[in-house]
Amino acid sequence: MQVRVKKPLTVDEYAKQGMEMLKYYESGPWPSHVTELKKTKYPIEAYAAGLAAGKTMWAAGSAKIRYVYTGFIARRTRDGKISELHFRVWQPSGYLYSTEKLRKLMDFADKYGLGLLEIAGQQGLMIISIRPEVADEAVDYLRNVVGTDIGATGDTIRELAACVGPALCEFALYDTLEARDRFMTHPKIYEWMSNQLFPFKFKAKFSGCPFDCTRAVHRADFGFIGVWVGAPEVDQELLRKKIEAGEVDPARLAANCPSGAITWDPEKKELKIDGTRCKKSMHCIRAAYPAIKPGKERKIAVVVGGHVKGRFGGKMGKPLAVVNSVEEAMDWVVKTVESWTEYMEKGVVKHKDRIGDFIMKVGFKKYVTEILGLKEEKKPTLHPSLRAGAVLDDEERTMWANWASKLVEEYFGRRP
């Protein structure tokens, strides 16, 4: 066993060695984050030192901005040398920007920050390191000049994601962008988002169709996914043309339908879809669009309690209801959040319990019937808890290291 000399975990101790290591990431065919960081005033030594030490240098810091209780992330290195204050920023629905708006955001990042952004975290846009002495002014600049506001962190309504939907997607079955706009401005949501009063974070996601580009099935306390009723709509004429042109193979279309809903009549040259079986996989639609399109009767499937972080590991969303509009579900959203918070006061829900944990604790049936006052229509699929990690002893660790080294040999050749 190699004996490591323990050095104090400070930026200065490790920065030099780390800066050497970082050079490696400036080469290679893919655009480099290190190259980007170096174009800005970012204090890259903290990152470098972390890499050399095998530990992140960052610990929680603190900051105060008048009347702003969420949306900024304060950090300082463990040795106290460097501190940072990142701003999350509320994004327009769909994250589609005119260059005019983008330029304003760049001006903002240059004027108040270090000239660096994280363009799309799970939480939307983050402006890296606002200078604390101008943080107060920065908030006003965002509000008055850019036309948005500091975003969300902590135990509150977080970044809400909508797919690009009707702005640039043919498949959108409802207006995800408008739905997100309305959700954000719903009086209760709007009131909640200025404070941190929840047990943990709350997210909602709006996907226009079953492709679910926002990953609403897993990454949202409330997920809204566009669906249609029954069978996809077939334009037989157009489909025949596509078949003749060799663009679509009807036999394969039928064979690849995961629900076996499609039959092809080679005599009549007709494709039939059994709407009672269709699982809305989008397969035939993607392959033969626009000859095959989603059906005309459109709905929104609401799934609840999905999340990544939470006390008992990640969870997939559970089936709540199929509705005609997001508005129809707003009362349930409000009731869910209110009782989630209430149960924290009662001590049932603990800090860091997501809504999925809360539902797990009270039981899905009780949640649906007693808390929401609905009929329980569908039972959720149970699944193994989603998590990663292992507690290994040295022997097991060695076994896996040896297993991996065989593959390293296969791809990199034998170590000299």
Partner: protein, 371 residues
């Protein structure tokens, strides 16, 4: 009521309606898109019922989507010069530059490639590698996701550009710690962890504990113990009246939640590694949405090259390419052939941390049955 005008900040200035943020050509065509065409792996044409067309050029971005304003301004200039004055940032951190003709789209592609940025990430390709911030910002990171992501991208770039074809879409997530900020719905999911129960800095961990044992008597459970899902953290009063903390190794599942709330929980950096999970997807295609499942509990994470991680990821992709049918994502393929077969092909040893789980039932909207 306060007269302080700053108090108005309590009323958020939200970027609504979204139409105010759109480039003009898109604003005119909201809800009117009727068809799409593909021109290679990174250029997509959207056709509106008004006859308008928008072409998007999809650009790969650096790990953790970190970008200097200097580089962003270059993209913005391109979007003005050759495009319609609009850029979309995708959920996975790619940039889509919008224009109105194929000619201009091809020119944008050239300009972007000249800057050293790849175009691709659509269709049966690697769409993006989603990396958390890890050592760049995060307090709980165990491994540095952005540098792992960079190395993976360097090795897998031909899968992004479409030079080498894949059976179906591939999405990779890299998370720096078991909090798994990348989520569980990616085809290959790499998650850093300690490889053991956490340790702690005995002095500094006191910052996460009440100062006096009296608080415990009153029934208070400090958050660092409270968040542990398995009760592996015990706090107790010491004879000198202060509070002590113990981690019961046999109960710990290395979930990292204690470290998530207490910066002074610690680990032995010689044991760090990553777990590899496979088969997750959000989309309802194929077998439907599925979570990714841990198949390899630990391989070492050794910077700067991370050879072990690269080799395992390449192997998974190669085995998938050799065995899957066209259009089958990793999870769909594994669901068809069975987890046991997947283990066999990769010669993965089975231990208590990666017992093959048979997922039964369906997720997402399929739980509703036929709609």
């Amino acid at each position: 009521m306060t007269a302080d005008p700053v108090a108005q900040r309590l009323q958020k200035r939200l970027p609504v309606p979204y139409t105010e943020w759109l480039p003009e050509l898109v604003r005119r065509n909201v809800g009117k898109w009727v068809d799409r065409r593909f021109h290679g792996y990174g250029i997509i044409e959207h056709i509106s019922s008004t006859g308008d067309r928008v072409f998007t050029v999809k650009v790969g971005t650096p790990p953790n989507f970190r970008m200097s304003t200097e580089t962003m301004r270059k993209f913005i200039d391109i979007a003005d010069k050759l495009g319609i004055g609009g850029i979309k940032i995708t959920r996975n951190g790619n940039l889509e530059i919008l224009t109105d003709s194929l000619d201009k789209a091809v020119k944008i592609k050239e300009e972007v490639e000249k800057m050293g940025f790849p175009v691709g990430g659509w269709g049966p390709t690697l769409w993006s590698i989603n990396s958390c911030t890890a050592f760049l910002t995060c307090t709980t990171a165990v491994v540095d996701a952005p540098s792992i992501t960079k190395v993976l991208y360097d090795h897998l770039k031909p899968y992004f550009t479409g030079e080498v074809k894949l059976p179906a879409k591939l999405r990779i997530n890299v998370s720096g710690c078991p909090s798994s900020c990348g989520g569980f719905t990616s085809d290959i999911n790499i998650v850093g962890h300690y490889g053991d129960a956490p340790t702690y800095d005995p002095e500094r961990v006191k910052l996460c504990l009440p100062r006096s044992a009296k608080a415990l008597e009153a029934g208070h459970v400090p958050e660092v113990a409270e968040v542990c899902p398995t009760g592996a953290i015990k706090v107790y009063g010491k004879p000198d009246g202060t509070v002590g903390l113990d981690v019961i190794r046999s109960k710990c599942i290395a979930c990292g939640r204690c470290r998530d709330v207490c910066d002074w929980m610690d680990f032995d950096e010689s044991k760090i590694g990553v777990a590899i999970l496979v088969g997750g997807k959000a989309s309802n295609t194929g077998r439907g949405s599925m979570p990714s499942i841990q198949v390899i509990p630990w391989v070492p994470a050794i910077p700067p090259e991370y050879r072990e991680i690269v080799a395992v990821v390449k192997k998974i992709i190669d085995v998938w390419r050799a065995n899957a049918r066209e259009g089958e994502r990793i999870g769909d393929w594994i669901a068809r052939v069975g987890m046991e077969q997947f283990y066999k092909l990769l010669e993965i040893p089975v231990t208590k941390w990666n017992k093959p789980v048979a997922i039964s039932g369906e997720f997402g909207i399929r739980q509703f049955g036929p709609i």
